[in-house]
């Protein structure tokens, strides 16, 4: 289809209207090469790497990370961090191609491997504001990642079971501490204490406006109070759930 008679702004406007219709956006890509850049903004806004196969397809399709549509990704889900970090090591900074991600979700438990390093994810996107981790690694790795994200506002940590030692001996010292001004969510079967303690020790403190917590036992209630006190100057919404298996009498 020729679009030489239509101004760029009109074409962009048409594509913008189709932002939530991926099939239509794909058809736009086939209609004209000149439509491709605008459609990429929406087609690649949310990317999921939940299996190694998906990662391989991406790498084959976009062999040059610098020119891949990763630049358009705003929301990134990684469910196979072992393979993603391997790709990053192979191609020298592959993860950093996703430099405009605002929301990042990381699951370490499905392909659990104690050697997974989260260092390649450190500040991979300077724009990152929300981080959600389902964690099975030493917590120090998660908190080193948190410390590397200066604009981080929202943090959610879910833990089913920690397989390794809580601390693996490395402390990342951030030049700029994370903002932590949005929502903090915590769901930990191992108790809230170990995570809250680390959170309260973060340089720069915590300034959350919302806490969304699950508690299991009486000890958790004390840590919940510690968390409330820690962000008492900013806290506006307090959302707490009693776990059905909790031990409170």
């Amino acid at each position: 289809m020729s679009n030489s008679h239509l101004p760029r702004e009109i074409l962009d406007y048409v594509v913008d209207l189709l932002h939530d219709k991926p099939d239509a956006l794909k058809q736009c890509c086939l209609a004209s090469k000149s439509w491709v850049p605008r459609t990429r903004k929406y087609l690649f806004a949310s990317i999921t790497f939940n299996h190694a196969d998906v990662l391989e397809v991406w790498k084959k399709t976009f062999p040059d990370p610098a020119n891949s549509p990763a630049y358009h990704t705003r929301s990134l889900f990684v469910g196979c961090p072992l393979f993603v970090t391997a790709a990053d090591a192979e191609e020298g900074g592959w993860i950093r191609a996703f430099s405009r991600v605002v929301r990042f979700e990381l699951h370490t438990h499905r392909y659990h491997h104690p050697e997974i390093s989260l260092v390649p994810f450190h500040n991979f996107s300077p724009a990152l504001k929300s981080l959600e981790v389902i964690n099975s690694l030493p917590r120090s790795r998660v908190f080193n990642l948190v410390c590397s994200l200066p604009l981080l506002e929202n943090l959610t940590i879910r833990e089913l079971r920690i397989f390794e030692a809580d601390y693996d001996g490395i402390d990342f010292q951030p030049s700029t501490p994370p903002l932590l001004t949005g929502t903090f969510g915590l769901y930990s079967g191992d108790g809230t204490g170990p995570i809250v303690r680390r959170l309260l020790d973060l340089p720069g403190g915590i300034h959350f406006r919302k806490l969304a917590l699950t508690w299991y036992g009486e000890e958790d209630l004390r840590w919940v109070t510690a968390l409330v006190v820690g962000c008492s100057d900013t806290l506006e919404c307090f959302d707490i759930r009693q776990n059905p298996l909790c031990t409170f009498r």
């Binding site: 109070t225 009693q242 059905p244």
Partner: protein, 163 residues
């Protein structure tokens, strides 16, 4: 520097605003000093509080609400999520009172009184939320929560379905 929690938790009693009813003498109040409880007294900018109850013993909620003071001037809403799976499915099989047990039932009555007191002392809304849909279970849940929080149900009729 932040101080980590110790076994003793400071108990801050509810301070009524001028003109409001006097503090209630709740049956759990003495125990609050010994038991762990969530202390919200320092979080005076709180606007919304949501308590998701999964059991028929809401003492932990009442203990947390007791730490609300007259300094919580921004408080707008308290939401209680009903323990859907713990509420008896039919009134014939078991009443909420029997299901909760005497201790549990007394805790609900205490929570009910405390909520009323908070509503009178602070200009806030209270919601009791369940996820029973709109079928038969909805009326059962409303009835169940109505018997566990009778004053709130009678005066403010706050129950709604979250779906």
């Amino acid at each position: 520097m932040f101080r980590y929690p110790t076994k003793s938790v400071v108990y801050v009693p509810l301070v009524p605003t001028p003109g409001s009813s006097t503090s209630l003498e709740l049956s759990f109040a003495p125990a609050c000093e010994q038991l762990a409880c969530i202390d919200l007294s320092k979080a005076t900018r709180l606007k919304n509080m949501i308590f998701r109850c999964e059991g028929l013993n809401p003492q932990w909620i009442a203990m947390a609400l007791q730490t609300i003071t007259s300094k919580h001037r921004d408080l707008q809403q308290i939401t209680i999520h009903a323990p859907y799976h713990r509420c008896p499915s039919t009134p014939e099989s078991k009443t909420p009172r029997k299901a909760a047990g005497e201790d549990g039932y007394r805790q609900w009555m205490d929570l009910d009184s405390l909520l009323v007191q908070l509503l009178e002392s602070h200009a806030i809304r209270t919601e009791v939320v369940h996820d029973a849909g709109n079928g038969e279970r909805k009326s059962e849940m409303c009835e169940c929560m109505g018997s566990l929080l009778p004053k709130i149900a009678e005066r403010y009729n706050p129950t709604r379905c979250m779906r």
